[in-house]
């Protein structure tokens, strides 16, 4: 194992050297860094050209400049050699600073989208596999491929036009016309019908329910001015809480395990009490406090589950912890929703809450809730765009992997010994179906930092992608090499991790030295 890792690492270093040399030389040869100066007709043109030539050391041939760069860059990777020096950009900013900033931006932009894409994509894949060749399967497949093949810049423009500009216009005068209500109701009916599956009678009934539910909810929201003053309030928290408790128990331990169900249900009153109790505390919330509260809720869930006991403490604790966490999330969501009207009417936001560009509203000084909403409104569109584009991969992989597992002999054995369908799917099939996905996920996390060049430039985010493309436009090798170093190392490391993880997860695969 160790020999294997060492061997992989040595190859990785060699690959890095070779690739960085090629990237450096290609970048240096990709354009004329003096192009903008050549068109000047002022007498100091030569002096400016000379200054830039000196700054970028253009009189030295690129392959030699690469080794000069390398002598500084090596210190970043190998410890104890001295201070890390990745050089400066054409504007005189140290590349290390630019990288740190760009990485922060990129992580904030891509993390939510990746996590959501993984969760939603895998769920969709599993569900469609369980209902292979149903209307749902075809519908999801169609949508996944549709979004996969849409160019993201076009998707982004559409999102901005309808989800930002159009939605903001709607929020300015939140009246849903009857025609829109009917259309949304019909769409909901179709979705419910497809989801329901089974006989046509069943589908028709589901469609009817879907229509009524969507129509009624929107109608009530419209009439009560919910869009202007959103919020959940204790009643909705309680109702959703009970729903969460049933769903979580159903998935983790099955509703037959009454103790687990009661643990999860107990979280609802506890959540409601804390909804009032910690309310003053939430007014001065900080990110750290929210994290600590989240940890506390999970602990409460575990403790309650422990004392509920029963023949399987672990199941109760798990159901309790997950429901507690989700109900806590509902309380936080309620708080964000209640803050919404204050945010949207803030003078800097100008009543146009959903933003199309940038990472934050300039000059907005708000507490945790206001700035949280600000992050949300700025990340919403790029996150949707990125998520839709990467859903296809995850859902297809998990679908095929799940299908393969479901036809395995041991699944038939599990069914034959009388296990419930939930246990067969959740415990025997689902976990094994995730193994091949580990490779994909590990690699995607490695690629996270690389940024999304097009998405970043369409949404005016200044992450790694923007750093790369701007430097390339200026024919400025140093930032590009910084970018390459980070993404290259991450790609190699996560590739290795993916391989190792596979061998750990799947006992049939062994790493041979």
């Amino acid at each position: 194992m160790v020999t294997y890792i060492v061997r992989r690492l040595i190859t990785a270093v060699l690959i890095l050297f070779g690739a960085s040399f090629i990237v450096y030389v290609l970048t240096a040869l990709s354009g004329d860094p003096l192009a903008d100066l050549r068109q000047l007709r002022t007498p100091n043109k030569d002096a400016l050209i000379q200054a830039r030539t000196e700054l970028l050391d253009l009189n030295t041939p690129p392959p030699i400049r690469y080794f000069i760069w390398l002598s500084g860059a090596v210190k970043c990777v190998v410890p104890f050699l001295g201070t890390c020096d990745l050089g400066q950009s054409i504007q005189g900013e140290p590349v290390t600073e630019a990288l740190a900033r760009a990485m922060g931006q990129t992580i904030s932009l891509v993390t939510a989208a990746t996590v959501l894409a993984i969760i939603v994509g895998i769920s969709l894949g599993i569900i469609t596999a369980l209902r292979q060749y149903s209307g749902l399967d075809y519908g999801v497949t169609f949508m996944a491929f549709l979004f996969f093949s849409l160019p993201i810049f076009w998707l982004a423009v559409l999102l901005k036009e309808y989800a930002a500009i159009g939605f903001n216009d709607f929020l300015a005068e939140p009246k849903i016309p009857l025609s829109a209500l009917l259309i949304i109701g019909l769409v909901s009916a179709v979705i419910w019908g497809i989801l329901a599956g089974g006989s046509w009678k069943r589908k028709g009934l589901a469609a009817l329910i879907g229509f009524v539910v969507a129509f009624a909810i929107l109608f009530v929201m419209d009439k009560t001015g919910w869009f202007v003053n959103p919020g959940l309030g204790p009643v909705l928290i309680a109702i959703f809480g009970v729903g969460v408790a049933y769903a979580v128990t159903g998935l983790t331990s099955g509703l037959k395990n009454r103790r687990a169900l009661y643990t999860a249900l107990l979280m609802v009153p506890i959540g409601l009490i804390s909804y009032y109790a910690i309310n003053p505390l939430l007014s001065m919330a900080t990110p750290l406090m929210i994290v600590l509260l989240a940890v506390a809720t999970i602990l409460v869930g575990c403790i309650v589950g422990y004392f509920m006991g029963g023949y399987d403490r672990g199941q109760s604790m798990r159901a309790g912890a997950i429901s507690a966490f989700l109900i806590g999330g509902l309380i936080v969501l309620d708080r964000f929703l209640v803050t919404w009207s204050a945010y949207s009417s803030h003078s800097r936001v100008r009543g146009r809450p959903i933003a199309t560009t940038g990472a934050s509203t300039p000059g907005l000084d708000g507490d945790f809730w206001i700035s949280g909403l600000d992050n949300f409104t700025h990340l919403l569109l790029p996150t949707i765009a990125l998520m839709l584009a990467s859903l296809a991969g995850y859902s297809r992989y998990s679908r095929s992997s799940m299908l393969e597992i479901m036809s395995m002999d041991y699944i038939r054995t599990a069914r034959a010994k009388g296990l419930s369908e939930r246990t067969v799917v959740m415990r025997h099939a689902f976990r094994n179906a995730l193994i091949p996905l580990a490779t994909l996920v590990a690699f995607d996390i490695g690629a996270l930092i690389g940024g999304a060049v097009i998405t970043e430039s369409v949404f005016a985010f200044s992450g790694m992608g923007a750093l790369f493309i701007n430097a390339l436009n200026r024919v400025d090798p140093n930032p590009i090499m910084g970018f390459f170093l980070i993404t290259g190392i991450l790609a190699l490391v996560f590739n290795l991790i993916a391989d190792l993880a596979y061998s750990v997860l799947d006992p049939r695969v062994r790493v041979k030295a």
């Binding site: 700054l55 309310n279 009417s345 003078s347 936001v349 560009t357 949404f459 005016a460 200044s462």
Partner: protein, 591 residues
């Protein structure tokens, strides 16, 4: 009566729901936000393409449009340039007067009470530092053929031209301590736009290792002039200059407030690197045009479509995207937005080499007669600006007052129409082979080349496509590897020192090998002439010579566009690099 368990549960839940709905937790967030506080003038958001990188835009590195714009809003100066490209004096800041014509002597005085935002007055020290920077007085570097410095130093890494103030010796400081007098060895045409106040001297002095501003004045006055033949080590000056060169470079708001002092209407309050920056009013400011708004926010958005949608969404108020037919079409489709467009101060042109086939004047004339300038304009610029026409002067742009007069006199009327017959006559049966060099990564240049080549071939020219890639065409200029070239020049709109650069025999931008004694002589006169009227006359004469010598053809100016929301007013199109910022004090928020 017995209730089932479910009914009981529902009943309890309903009662609880009723009870609870009456008492949602008081979150204390009902009061709407008022981030604006007591502001009255309101806030305007401007979009820029490039991100801010330095508080000193006079350095070669910091010389990026956005840095200059921020400086424009946070610094006052003796004059500024308006959108008619005229120099407007700011008498409230200070005054300058020509004390003597021979030798040209100019006295600059800053008014009393004009100060930096830390309370330090703007005075002779600041003027002295500017002079030291802009004159290159102390530079003693010698460079080899490749441009590498072999001995000595260039102290201040100034982005501007030192040839004008280089004619002055160490200036004298006035008794009041707020004025200096510059004496030019010989008259200098562009003296009025060559001098201004830069970064604060007291900050440069202390951060550059000196005791205070007086020590800096002392240093600048006592240090001898730099002489490349006898370079000296000047560690003190080097330290000062090094700080001036790099000390103001930053992408985020420095913790040291002295690095972003303001002497203008606004002062930087906050910077989010690569995202936005916020400027608020400089409370002390009363020495110049007073702004109507309280805050300017700059937001960086690179892509034109993203800028347009941000404007449509009300996130920003003013945008100036890269002009293209799509951009203009999208902008005009927006409601509640005013679109302005005009020419930019740059122009594409066709230059003919005075060697090879074009050494013969008849061949040059024949070639020029085949160039379909109208067709080129129609193909490239008409979709953007239906009202414009091809450029008819080698020196002036239509935005400049003398353009109309120059066009009348310079002989450009002979080249308005394509005249293949006359070109054939001039060629007299010859079929010269000409190679045209251009940037083939620029679609406009490719279009221009295609039209020119097709038309020239009708007259018998054999056109060779000498198009080069984006990274190669620039360094090919002036190498004589082609017979004609299509590229662009940037015109600053004011000043005349650019003219000899392009057209005199030893001019740095004279890539055609053009040499005309009359033009050389006129050029020499021009840079010594301080009277704007006479400058115009000389330039018209040069222009006429150029057309007479069949130098080449100006083609067209690119179109610029800006757009602003109806929320604000007072924005006016500006063709030069300052863009919409030129009259930011006239912007106001309606309501």
């Amino acid at each position: 009566m017995r209730f089932g368990r479910t009914s009981k549960a529902v009943g309890v839940a309903a009662v609880a729901a009723l009870a609870l709905s009456a008492c949602a937790a008081n979150t204390g967030t009902e009061d709407g936000g008022n981030g604006g506080g007591e502001e009255s003038g309101g806030e305007v958001r401007v979009v820029e393409v490039n991100a801010f990188s330095s508080f000193n835009p006079d350095t070669a590195k910091g010389n990026v449009d956005i840095n200059s714009k921020i400086e424009y809003a946070t610094h006052s100066d003796f004059n500024y340039i308006n959108n008619d490209l005229e120099i407007v004096k700011n008498e409230k800041f200070g005054s300058y007067e020509v004390v003597s014509e021979d030798p040209l002597t100019v006295k600059y005085t800053v008014n009393e009470g004009v100060k930096w935002s830390d309370g330090e007055p703007i005075d002779a020290g600041d003027l002295m530092l500017s002079w030291a920077v802009m004159s290159g007085h102390f530079n003693d570097a010698k460079t080899d053929k490749e441009g590498e410095v072999v001995s000595g130093h260039n102290y201040f890494d100034y982005a501007g031209d030192t040839s004008g103030l280089g004619l002055t010796d160490v200036p004298e400081i006035g008794e009041d301590g707020r004025s200096i007098t510059l004496v030019y060895e010989k008259p200098f045409a562009d003296w009025e736009i060559s001098f201004g106040v830069g970064v604060p001297a007291h900050v440069v002095a202390t951060q550059g290792g000196l005791a205070d501003e007086d020590a800096l004045i002392e240093l600048l006055q006592s240090a001898p002039e730099g002489d490349p033949a006898k370079p000296q080590e000047r560690p003190e000056l080097k330290k000062v200059a090094d700080f001036w060169n790099t000390g103001f470079d930053t992408k985020s708001l420095p913790s040291d407030a002295s690095l972003y002092l303001s002497s203008g209407p606004f002062i930087v309050k906050d910077i989010v690197p690569e995202q936005s920056m916020t400027m608020v009013r400089n409370e002390d400011y009363n020495w110049g045009p007073m702004p109507k708004i309280d805050e300017i926010t700059v937001k960086y958005i690179g892509e034109a479509p993203a800028q347009i949608q941000a404007l449509d969404n009300g996130e920003v108020d003013i945008i100036a995207p890269q002009a293209s037919a799509d951009t203009i079409e999208q902008l005009e489709a927006l409601d509640g937005v005013t679109v302005e467009r005009g020419n930019q101060l740059s122009y594409d042109h066709l230059d003919l080499n005075f060697t090879g086939p074009f050494a013969d004047k008849d061949v040059r004339e024949a070639f020029m007669l085949t160039v379909p300038r109208d067709a080129i304009y129609d193909a490239i610029m008409k979709p953007l600006n239906p009202e414009g026409s091809p450029l008819d002067s080698q020196i002036f742009l239509p935005e400049q007052a003398a353009y109309a007069e120059a066009v009348k006199a310079n002989g450009s009327e002979n080249f308005q129409e394509v005249d293949i017959e006359k070109a054939k006559e001039l060629l007299n049966g010859k079929t010269p082979e000409v190679k045209i060099m251009y940037n083939n990564a620029n679609p406009n240049r490719v279009d221009a080349y295609t039209l020119i080549a097709a038309s020239a071939e009708k007259a018998g020219f054999k056109v060779v496509d000498g198009g080069l890639g984006a990274s190669d065409w620039g360094s090919a200029l002036g190498t004589g590897t082609y017979d004609a070239s299509i590229f662009g020049w940037v015109n600053s709109g004011v000043g005349v020192t650019g003219v000899p650069q392009l057209f005199s025999t030893d001019g740095g931008g004279n890539y055609s090998g053009y040499s005309n004694e009359t033009v050389d002589e006129l050029s020499n006169q021009l840079i010594l002439e301080t009277d704007p009227k006479k400058q115009e006359e000389i330039q018209i004469k040069i222009d006429t010579e150029l057309w007479g010598d069949r130098f080449g053809l100006p083609l067209f100016q690119p179109v610029g566009v800006d757009a602003y929301s109806d929320r604000i007013e007072g924005v006016k199109y500006m063709p030069n690099q300052t863009g919409v910022w030129w009259n930011f004090w006239e912007w106001s928020v309606k309501e």
